[in-house]
Symmetry: D3
Subunit: 339 residues, 6 copies
């Protein structure tokens, strides 16, 4: 069976009555009964901007296939007529099969089903690398930091920063990290100037490298599933704080094996930044920041995450009036005011 | 009795055997007994850089006056010969009287006995006013902010930022606040750019004005005593958070009475920044930051205070080796390393 | 359109089939669909003791007006027939318009829609003033306290003590404060007798005045909305603890401007009582009670609030058996027993 | 050896040079060395109002006996000459032996060495019993309460309320309990009036009986040792909260055995008052107050203990100025003010 | 009316269409209305392994009796035809009456309706007594421990260990306590060997007896109700920790009265084990473990309860994938893995 | 200069007047002044069982060398006469030089200066390996566990388990770990039997291997310094929990490189045991125990550490009477009793 004969379109762009091939993600399959006891399924499909939910009656041509094999969380290529009814938008499904890798040729891209950063991920990636090249003077620290970025460029472009608390969208990691790095650069310059007699002097290289790498363990902690960002098994049992330090150590070991070792003390301080960046044990930091570099990275990170949460709360909270409810990730009310 | 005949010098600059008039702060008066039961006093005097402690025996010419009237915490003008002995430096006191206001003519200045910021207070004050003029666009908010600074210029030049936890020296308030304001300006610009769709938009004026005024209540909470910065009664019972908001409100009321009222909503948001800048109830914030402006001021303030504490700990902790002790204001160890 | 022709009655007193004009508060408007997809509204109205909810079908004469303009939280004058049906009590609405100020002539009073204290507010107010007159010996403290009461008599008569945690009804402020004051008088007399050598002696005037004024900031923190007591913007961002102290200070400044200033020390101690009356930072006290007067007011207040909560829990908890559930404002079980 | 020949006096009333027999408590015995290496003892003795400390040189007549058998914490009858020297007051000991029970005939009373309530213990005891007789209407509850008091009258007269935190002196238990009971009576009357519809109604008998008995377990938890009030073994391992309930239950069982049982429900509620009177688990309450009676007793108790602590802090804190230090049992500063 | 004519069967073993007498527990009675407004009842009945829910229409022969007297939580003897319908399994009730004590002759046993331990309660009871006989060397401690077991054998066989947190089923007390005792025996042997010089030596008798008796107060704290294990009034107001100690003391007093007293010190230490076995005040321990014996019993108990909770979570959590949700009694996620 | 001419003895075995060569650790060097102002040094030396402290006067032959180069924390070979004086034991030093590696030939062993386990370290090591061989069925898990032990045999023999909180002596690691492993074996057997239907089944191999390896990171966290066990830099900044997991991962990677990889799931679960063994974030666990294996290892570890602390407190607390003070690592009182 091939679906190729007619144009591939986006579900969210179909018009009433239009027939087309669309790539969709199944989001719902629920077995229900009619008043007179006949079983049917309520199903749902979506792309990034539109979701449809409708019944598949027991006498529909797709009923048996629906019952037997359709699975929420799976991508499908569907040929269907799109109808807007009194009961909301529906699909009259003609043909359906699971999406496959080869569908990429027709524009199928799982990432397209995800919410994404408003900034271009590739541009952010390049800006991040540029800052490292410019602001990390120590050759080995620079090399290690760049290697960790470039070795994982593809995954980093779509990695979220968290599952839901903040920046939980494609490109969220880069958006968050780039912002943290910019604050870190500002802090490093500022406080190196304020306290030139700090002993040992503030290692600005490490502030920048630490800001870039503080969350790198998210690469192992998180993964995209069709239904959104989720924790890997090792992410749940070990966590990105430890896994990020693993990646730093493994990369450093690799460089050392090639005869380009990092200075021991710098490596230890860099690991410590990763380990301590969440500051409090109950926030997941095995050690609190014990160096000036770690303290600066913590504050740059913490503010950026909190400000993003605040932004989302003000944007999304449905409570009318000047104040939001306190049912949000920060568990307090915020003030919108009369603005 | 006048002491004017010979030159006024600084205690810390006297040489062995030199006789001079010096202004000193009495730091110690302790009644002791010799082995054979005769009472004597151990006394101490200092200026900003040298302290001397020595006995006043019961048969010394000054013994009776010492016993009767000398009081620790008092400034004295003393004519004395300075001697370096096996028991340490001593003063052979010839004449002594309390310092008086008129001694200013001879260079007496209580502020000279205090530790002070390494930055020039007048320069910092001007820089702070300059930032307000440049970065606070709203005329009334700018006026209020500047008025609070200029009306208290004299006290602000010597005000510390705290009694001991951070910036506990003359000019410490300005050093801390100027640094907080610079971070606040950076944050305001950065996050206004990141989230142009924040609703209502970030009020950058208030971020700057709030950063300038967040600690203004220290003017009422703290006072210099000869022995160092101390809490006033109202500071202990009410606290600078509430007292700072009082000053903002009183000044706003004064401007309103002159026909130049602040916008109600802006004033409320500004008061809230002052009220919430310490974030947690147990840190003294009656309300947590509930606006984007308040959140930014809190982070700028918190980081600056913590970094200064860290700097002092690394500078002052006497523990040998790579790690400090945990006996410090942050109650944790810090790492100096091999640097 | 005028509704005046027939008698104005109370919704809660209508009998089945009776037609009347009633003043009601709209509490609900929900857009639903019938089984066959036709939209209709479910609406609700209430007075202080009866609530009715019923459908407005799409072909009802009021359907269009309902859809377009009826708004929950609005008071209406309604001419309707009251019917008790199988689906509960309903109104057959003939005419409807928003209630207006002039309706006061027909007995319209928003306060009548609120739950209210079982005690007469005016009597409580007078009793409170009487205690102040009798028990506050210092002329200026007495004057300030009475002025704050009498200047706000009208609002105080209907002010609740909180939005929901305790005494959240019209007159609740007076009921709570009067009870607190009585305990405070008892404590002041008792402990002044027990510890006559306390230095400085217990200032019984301040215990009484502080008890009267501890919650006065509720006047600025809370407001009545049709749906019940709610926080004002400034109440949310600043809070009644600070706002109450503002009122004390403003009144004291006014008296001082008229040449009748309070003693500074007494004013400071009075402000401190207001500031500290909730005792713990996490309960909203910027400072803990630091004087004997503040400690007594705190206990009188805390017990009265907690006992009222306990009373409400025992009255309202629906759990059968000897024990209540722990789903209440004090988050613990209470024991009713076999009583 | 008999010391009877000369008058028995109080140490604190001896005059310089006077010889007398005194009863004293040994408070100190320390082995020291002179500069040239000879061992001697520094010893101390006191009565309730004067303490003397002095050396017993190795060649003194009492040196050997001192070394061998004198024991701090022991009461002695001493014949000595009292001398005020440059090194402070001393005793020139002529004869010394341990105090014995028979010394009571000469006025020896260990209780006299203890700090004691300023109120007469016997009067307080009678007042307490009077309140029980008058205010506890239920015959069985009254009987149980009175029996617990009268069966332990002797110990109760000298029992402290705690080892050090509050009322840690002879008669302290009665002073504290009587005060708690008076507040409890006030609360019971007041809140029974306020909430006549409480269901089940407030049991005022239990409020009074519970207030009387809440700390009765101190009889088993505490004991007087020569050096002051101390915990018994069972007090440390079990605690007065549980031990007080034991006493209530044992007494109730005794009455039941005599055919005068308490109502089961009343007994359970009374036990619960004892169990919960410290309210929080971390303060030692296995259960929080779950009845109105228990809540009232808790507040009466808590305020009385805290107010006494505050009184002692204001009386004893040595810090000069308007504020105390925070080194006290309540770990916060208090304000004395300019009073 | 007698139901005896036909065989008594188990509800859970009935087949479609079978008529039988069954003992059932009523679990639900809800008054509802049909679409056309006619009232009917939805009722539910169950035995240990099957539950049926069905309507009793207003014209059914049992309708009036259902409305008037059937009560959820009551056991009934029912004669009915069992039918499996499209709407689930139903009972067509012919006769019904409350179960009575005499029904025991026909096999009626309330305990049969409860979830129960997979281990035979009588066997566990005997094993527990056997361990006491073998491992408690002190005659009096052994006697007290055995007496407490054997005096309550009947209730102990069905007692749960808690209402829901762990081992909340018939026999759960024995299952939990036997497991705790086995760990305690292991700990006692092991640590007595490791630290033979502990002073005073570890009292292994008390470790075993304390493990056996640590939860004995559950006999007074909990009771079986038809709907499951529940707290008694005294359990809620006093709690099993105190009630268990009561039972130990009462039994010891009884033995003492018979001339077989326990050693005071042993009894005190045994009481302390019961009092402290939950270790933290917020977990219900008035005192923390202060003896080696108490520490060992705490750990044996705590691990056994936690491991059982973990077992139930892994068994019951419905979340798909490698991780459970955190909605469980331990409020954290657990890992099932790929196993 | 050679000291070889006379016998090498142990400081703690010297008799009054004996001259000998001894290896000692310098513990103290303090510069003091005599009454008449002459500087001298007070110095201290010890071996494992005796410490001597005495003055080195400014005219002593060793005075200059003492002042210039002797350093506390250094091992010395000293030729001296041992004297017991009125001022305590002293050394009359004739010759002194730093100890060197070659002194091992004369029996010099830094480990001999440390407190040590009462158990033979080599025997414990062998027993530990024996348990692994016998109780870890999975070949690869067994291999990894044994490799980590045998690769570090030498250091493990003297490694302490902590710096001071528990088992802070040579061999302490082995004493603690062996005890934990024995409890873990008991738990694994017991709970595998109790819950045979646990899914996935309890992995007893991992319980044993996890117990053996839970603290293995102490090898990198701790080091012996002359003054006792101390934290390494990486121990302070990273900590043994993470470092132990590093060692497990590095060893697993090494085995994998040799073609003998562990099962991924087993490795992840093993890492998780190490990561979570301290359970609470504030105790240093980045993740809580999320598997049955991890829970068992945590309890075995926690009890063993706590019991050892309790043992030391009962042994060392100097408070007289039945109760210890609360000044100990567990910050609570313990009961010794009358035993």
């Amino acid at each position: 069976m091939t679906l190729k004969a007619i144009a591939v379109a986006a579900l969210s762009e179909l018009e009433n009555g239009q027939e087309a091939d669309v790539f969709v993600l199944m989001t719902l399959k629920e077995e229900l009964k009619t008043r007179d006891g006949k079983p049917y399924h309520k199903v749902g499909f979506r792309d990034a901007r539109r979701e449809v939910q409708f019944p598949v009656w027991s006498d529909a041509p797709t009923a048996e296939e629906c019952r037997r094999s359709w699975t929420p969380g799976t991508f499908y290529k569907v040929r269907a007529v799109y109808r807007e009814t009194n009961y909301g938008p529906q699909l009259d499904i003609r043909k359906i099969r699971e999406a496959i890798a080869a569908d990429a040729a027709d524009g199928f891209d799982p990432d397209a089903f995800r919410p994404r950063s408003k900034f271009d991920a590739a541009v952010m990636f390049d800006e991040l690398c540029g800052i490292v090249r410019e602001r990390v003077a120590d050759e080995r620290v620079r090399e290690l930091t760049l290697k960790l970025l470039t070795d994982h460029r593809t995954e980093l472009l779509t990695l979220p920063a968290a599952t839901k608390n903040h920046h939980g969208f494609s490109g969220g990691f880069l958006e968050h990290v780039l912002s943290v790095v910019k604050s870190a650069v500002f802090f490093a310059d500022k406080y190196a100037d304020y306290y030139p007699d700090l002993a040992p002097p503030l290692d600005k290289d490490l502030v920048v490298a630490g800001a870039v790498l503080h969350d790198i363990g998210k690469l192992r902690e998180l993964e995209w599933r069709p239904e959104g960002p989720a924790y890997t098994d090792s992410g749940s049992l070990i966590g990105h704080v430890l896994q990020g330090r693993d990646m730093v150590r493994e990369t450093a070991a690799g460089l050392a094996a090639e005869g380009r070792p990092l200075d021991d003390e710098k490596l230890l301080r860099l690991e410590h930044i990763v380990v301590s960046h969440q500051r409090l044990p109950e926030w997941g930091a095995p050690k609190p920041p014990m160096t000036p570099e770690a303290l600066l990275v913590h504050y740059a990170d913490d503010l950026d995450a909190k400000y993003h949460m605040l932004y989302c709360i003000l944007r999304d909270d449905p409570t009318p009036g000047a104040l939001t409810s306190k049912k949000n990730v920060l568990t307090q009310q915020f003030y919108r005011g009369k603005g």
